[in-house]
């Protein structure tokens, strides 16, 4: 069995890549389908994921990673026997929660959270060196790439502080060693 990691956006993908490269996940790249995590919302819209599924003859568990993952995953008929499980790992309301936690700004954010999305708050308050947060993948690479342990700690802290996930929604922390 292999894991197919499907990240909702390029920033989630970057986070997973950092965790993977620094051996912070419960599995290593050999356990991943085609050795890499993917940026894909739906299998039927992602030829890259289909290529990976076509190459591997065994069973696959899909790990979906994203903010809310409200859209149901459609599994094409040809992969119905191959995909044995689908699990959701959420960082809701938005991935920027990890940056806010990493910057110790969670209490400050909580004061304004009803009026401000994490993305907007992060753009106003967070920077890495001279670069202000701009929702770019490059920012995540710069910010967490050089400090993967801070990323892992932020993910764990998110789970500790954010206990309101639905039953079927797991936490990124559940994938950490």
């Amino acid at each position: 069995m292999k894991y197919l990691i499907m990240c909702e956006g390029p920033n989630e993908l970057e986070i997973v890549k950092i965790l993977l490269e620094n051996d912070l996940l419960l599995f290593d790249k050999d356990e991943l389908l085609n050795l890499i995590p993917y940026h894909a919302r739906q299998i039927d819209k992602s030829p890259a994921v289909q290529l990976a599924l076509n190459i591997y003859p065994g069973e696959v568990t899909v790990l979906r990673i994203g903010d809310g993952l409200t859209e149901k995953l459609r599994i094409p008929n040809k992969y119905k026997d191959k995909i044995i499980a689908v699990e959701k790992y959420c960082t809701k309301p938005e991935l920027e929660m990890l940056l806010i936690i990493a910057e110790n700004l969670l209490d400050e954010y909580n004061k304004v959270k009803s009026a401000k999305k994490p993305k907007v708050f992060a753009k106003e308050h967070i920077q890495c060196g001279h670069q202000k947060y701009d929702n770019s993948t490059r920012f995540y690479e710069l910010y967490f790439g050089r400090n993967p342990l801070l990323l892992a700690a932020s993910i764990k802290e998110y789970k500790r502080k954010h206990g309101s996930h639905k039953k079927e929604e797991r936490y990124l922390a559940d994938l950490l060693k």
Binding site: P10, N34, S46, P47, A48, Q50, L51, I55
Partner: protein, 372 residues
């Protein structure tokens, strides 16, 4: 250096102004940027995979031969040992190199000697700096400036030399014929020139034949084949028979792909599905779409009859349909067809959305004859 566009006239049996454009045209999603495109400069995206499809004798091979011709000029500054006529061919090539856009015009003529090579006449080369703000007008003629007083070269050497300066492999062309017994000489030359490790070769051979652990060159025509429990020294001709022509071709092609991915040059394949298991074709395509493997921005450009391969493309602008009505021409799946994007490209192909179906009446004519 990246080839961006070529416009050719009098090339084989092509229509005049036969054009192949390798800059992305349709909307670029974040998934496309991850899996379908290379950003070679800020805001300038080219494809990592390009397909040419069409009926038999519609000009697919002609299209990739034109690309091969351009890469010969850009890599070796020469055009030689090709299987087509050079006389009167005109080329308008646009390429990107180190922050600049170059436009190169030339006319080819056959060399007056007995050698199979072209000479370059009426050459002009223009340049302009690339700016992100002008990424949508890369081909705009107005801001190009001609490079003058470049100096003299032998007539069989292109003035592109003055820009690129050093011979370098820009692409490898893999035709559908195969190289027969000389494959293995070529293979070991590729290993040496492109610094491919013997471990990579062993892994490639293992994909095609699990019983073989390795292959070593003894001399130009003899090779040592390593099995788990024994070794055999065989000639190149024996080797092709021993391993089969499909395996021989596959090993060479995968080695060329490994070189292309490591060095960042492009790989052009005529009939990618020829001799290959579907999974091996898909795996090759997946290498070029995977930035962890394709770190040096190589591209895979291929022809195929195998329409299911097109379903592995997320975009449509990197797919060309070749057609032949007296002359060969290309249509772009994005620019020339208004198709339903939610349907599989292969299904649309088989339902003749691109006017590429095999003529049913011709098939039945043959069947009627066979039934007589």
């Amino acid at each position: 250096m990246k080839l961006l566009r070529v416009v050719a006239s009098y090339f084989k049996n092509c229509r005049d102004n036969f054009m192949i454009d390798l800059i992305s045209k349709s909307k670029r999603t974040s998934e496309d940027k991850e899996y379908e495109l290379h950003e070679i400069d800020e805001g300038l995206y080219v494809y990592n995979t390009v397909a040419f499809v069409g009926k038999n004798a519609s000009g697919k091979t002609t299209a990739v031969e034109l690309l091969d011709c351009c890469y010969s000029i850009l890599g070796e500054f020469r055009v030689e040992n090709k299987t087509y006529q050079y006389d009167h061919v005109t080329l308008d090539i646009i390429f990107y190199h180190e922050g600049m856009i170059y436009r190169y015009f030339t006319k080819l003529e056959a060399d007056a000697s007995l050698e199979n090579k072209a000479v370059f006449t009426d050459q002009h080369i223009f340049q302009k700096k690339y700016y992100k703000s002008r990424s949508k007008s890369v081909y705009d003629e107005r801001d190009f400036k001609e490079m003058e007083d470049l100096g003299s070269l032998p007539e069989d050497t292109s003035i592109v030399f003055f820009v690129l300066k050093k011979k370098q492999t820009r692409a490898l062309y893999f035709d559908s014929e195969g190289k027969g017994a000389s494959t293995y000489q070529l293979l070991f030359k590729a290993l040496r020139n492109y610094k491919i490790s013997t471990e990579v070769l062993a892994d490639i051979i293992h994909i095609f034949d699990e019983n073989i652990c390795g292959l070593q060159m003894v001399d130009d025509n003899n090779y040592k084949l390593l099995y788990k429990a024994e070794q055999k020294i065989v000639s190149d001709t024996e080797l092709v028979h021993l391993l089969s022509s499909g395996t021989t071709k596959g090993i060479l092609l995968y080695t060329m792909a490994a070189a292309s991915l490591q060095m960042g040059f492009d790989l052009i394949i005529d009939e990618i599905e020829n001799h290959f298991h579907k999974t091996l074709v898909e795996n090759l395509i997946s290498f070029y779409k995977d930035k962890m493997v394709n770190r040096n921005k190589a591209a895979l450009l291929f022809t195929t009859h195998y329409c299911e391969v097109l379903d592995l493309f997320n975009r449509r602008d990197n797919i060309w349909i070749s057609k032949s009505k007296e002359k060969v021409y290309l249509e772009n799946m994005y620019e020339n067809f208004d198709i339903r994007t939610e349907l599989l490209k292969s299904n649309q192909f088989y339902s003749n959305a691109f006017d590429t179906a095999v003529n049913y009446e011709e098939l039945m004519n043959l069947k009627r004859k066979l039934m007589e």
